[in-house]
Symmetry: C2
Subunit: 159 residues, 2 copies
Amino acid sequence: MEEPPLYKFGPYKIDAREVFHATPLSYAMVNLRPLLPGHVLVCPKRVVKRFADLSSDETSDLWVTAKEVGAKLEQYHKASSITFAIQDGPQAGQTVAHVHIHVIPRKKGDFEKNDEIYDAIDVKVKEKEMKEKLDLDVERKDRSMEEMAHEATEYLMYF
Amino acid sequence: MEEPPLYKFGPYKIDAREVFHATPLSYAMVNLRPLLPGHVLVCPKRVVKRFADLSSDETSDLWVTAKEVGAKLEQYHKASSITFAIQDGPQAGQTVAHVHIHVIPRKKGDFEKNDEIYDAIDVKVKEKEMKEKLDLDVERKDRSMEEMAHEATEYLMYF
């Protein structure tokens, strides 16, 4: 009989090599398509779609974990700030139906306009001319397992 | 002797009429410049600059509060999703040096391109032609105290 996966991310089975930190209720994994160096995801172990589905214990554990992950990755990547975000539901940009916190170390100049969003219609330029920046679930190039496992290993020693 | 303010937001004294929910460690207030209807801020009562400065108890209380606020404002505004974000530090867009969670009820079509960010340089159009969308601390028109107190009163009955 096949063992159930240790980590799930919505419908996806997560390879343990992608996970660099775990608590009784949460886990932190590297990102298939990081937006910036150190862009990782912190998730509850239980598969739930919306943030409101989490118990108080899960909510606390998730965010205490994200805080620790953020502080350590900021240091690791010699960053000076962090973007924390939950896209809670499809209309907020959520594409995987499993609560996840985006933790993104930030540096001066990492984005030309830091964190501004422009409406394509108002901007009146062709969509393909634009470079998407903070649509956190947007299509990006998939990384290999080796690449991800390597990053996870680098982070492991910080916990 | 003047009483110390009940609520502070970095260097600013917050009028209690703007606050629609409070716990022993956190408070939720309406926003001077909401990006969308129901865009509110949830803050720790203690003035701290960075998320990592919060104790575990403060972190838990802050996020359990934000979860409740989000769920109730989503219902109130007949929204279907929520954006939760902390701009943790200046390089993440933080302009007030006091930890605050942006809680933004989201609906289909509230932004033309939901949550995409474009780099002004890559877009190659003049900045003034663009409409800023998710730069959460960007300059927006200030609302009156009456307007804000009215909104806070509407929310009060939900808690």
